[in-house]
Symmetry: C2
Amino acid sequence: MRKNYLLTPGPTPLPPQVMESMARPIIHHRTPQFQAMLKEAVEGLKYVFQTNNDVFILTSSGTGAMEAAVINLLSAGDTALVVQGGKFGERWTEICKAYGITVEVIDVKWGKAVNPLDIEKKLKANPKIKAVFTTQCETSTGVLNDIAAIGKAVKNTEAVLVVDAISSLGAVDLKTDEWACDVVVSGSQKGLMLPPGLSFISVSLKAAKLVENSKSPRYYFDLRKAKKALDKTDTPFTPAITLVIALNEALKLIRQDGLDVVFNRHRKLADATRAAVKALGLELFAPESGSDVVTSVKVPAGFDGEKLVKTMRDTYGVTIAGGQDELKGKVFRFAHMGFIEEFDIVIGISCLEKVLTQMGYKFQMGTGIRAAEEIFLK
Amino acid sequence: MRKNYLLTPGPTPLPPQVMESMARPIIHHRTPQFQAMLKEAVEGLKYVFQTNNDVFILTSSGTGAMEAAVINLLSAGDTALVVQGGKFGERWTEICKAYGITVEVIDVKWGKAVNPLDIEKKLKANPKIKAVFTTQCETSTGVLNDIAAIGKAVKNTEAVLVVDAISSLGAVDLKTDEWACDVVVSGSQKGLMLPPGLSFISVSLKAAKLVENSKSPRYYFDLRKAKKALDKTDTPFTPAITLVIALNEALKLIRQDGLDVVFNRHRKLADATRAAVKALGLELFAPESGSDVVTSVKVPAGFDGEKLVKTMRDTYGVTIAGGQDELKGKVFRFAHMGFIEEFDIVIGISCLEKVLTQMGYKFQMGTGIRAAEEIFLK
């Protein structure tokens, strides 16, 4: 007997309504019954995206929607600007390069947010830039970029703004229309509290013109096909039916609370997590620009970060995330997104205190929990 | 209160074990726990594919795996041979053309199987052909192509054989290795008794060389990334975790029965369906080459085929499929694949008898059921 707890930046725990909905008998996708569900899903997504733009549902991981953004907007030889401050910023560059797109990179130190002025400067210096690829929450570092300010920098140029909101959508505020985000991509297994398997992409009118003109070869991720289908409340290919049904259950929960309540909850969970780890004498990896999505914490010098994460998971059933690529072993990432509330944080911090103690790290047990509880009491 | 019955060529009904498995709490994909599941899934797929080749699990509909086959094998300017005898044969051509691949087409009359000699002739006439794209069961017409014979025609040439087994895998025999099928693609929502959302692709050593050399741009469907990950029992991007877990449940059921038992069951269901509709005085659309996967039946002259399908579905809860594209309104398709047994066929035929009677079609009620029962009694 062991209970398992997920405090990872995707997948996130599933609400019981979501789990139950996937155990229902399957229905066919070319039926009025499913069409009504697809309509409801798209409307719910528009609410969460805060947009009147088209939102397409793809059957893929979030990376599929990232690729859809790149190949539907740009052709080989076009120029893109990519903000790169972690593993997922780098992914934009990799996808662009795979399709022969010239990439200008703004290299941001891992753990820092991009300065929107740098984007403005780059756009002025090179008017050939057709698209700016950004990451709202860089999941690998926990950093939140200021998309509102970036939107202002891009809005009055020829370029379109593309935002990877895979881990941030439904966790922190993202005003797609108000902030002039032309294309926003997201995934199902993060703030939307679903299993992985669906991705989402919204497209503004400014971006839709590029979609028509892109010469990049494409078929499965061709948004022209997706648009034609969406206009008939359909999908071009068989959708992941059970996940769309589950999406409606998750969207219902989000709409019942309202976005403000959801965002406030995430803020409180993040505040408590940050307060707890600081009270334990640990250092935040991104102290100035940490997101309310996932908190990156430096592994104290001389301690084995991978062992910490593994022990929490394999011995005690509490899964947090380790560092990726250049941060492997150097940070651990404590997620507080999706179907998570204060007692999940209490469990996570308690387990962290236990394993840190076992590893010989010196602090007074209960200090982290107390700091979290004080935040939750407010 | 109304019960719903699915007799469609995907999605197919889900076994209770599969449904239940998707309602479990989600687990993280980068864990020893999931790794063991992924290993089990790949081994189970190799059993169903009857292959020792690598089998990759993609998060997409079957079309995603078709695109993966095209772009990983061929580059713009290469020549492909496509067997086109229905909507899904045409899809191969569409994908190839989207990527600038020159397509030679063998146009087979809808409702007929391809003559393997025609493939042999084409390959002899044009040694530039690098890949032959075929469809085992052409779901739009119900036709089964003779992949064993096609394999013999392609085996000793430079070309690789690609088989779309999306609707046929796990329903009819497909000996990937013995028949020299270099690449086989399939999907989750057919014979494998899962919801849609996963696709599968096997790659022979002969095909793997093309994968290394293809210059087609690709990222999400890049099988070089998939191979690198598979060798570490991993996936390059977040997989559809719940569907992989459900896949293991479905594979367990298939392995418990054994492939021969599964294929025999499908044959009997198909025999009964064919006997029933013939007893009702209806005509098979593909009398010589009908598959044991789905039976296409001509709508009798003067009757509204779309109304027949809609009434069965919307009034009585029995979903069969109508005709697609040029067959719209002219055929209906009665599927007998996946988690289907004799009493499901009885329900389907009974509903068909009811609606045909209501539409004024003349026959003695019960005739179809009796013909089916006689087959089942054998």
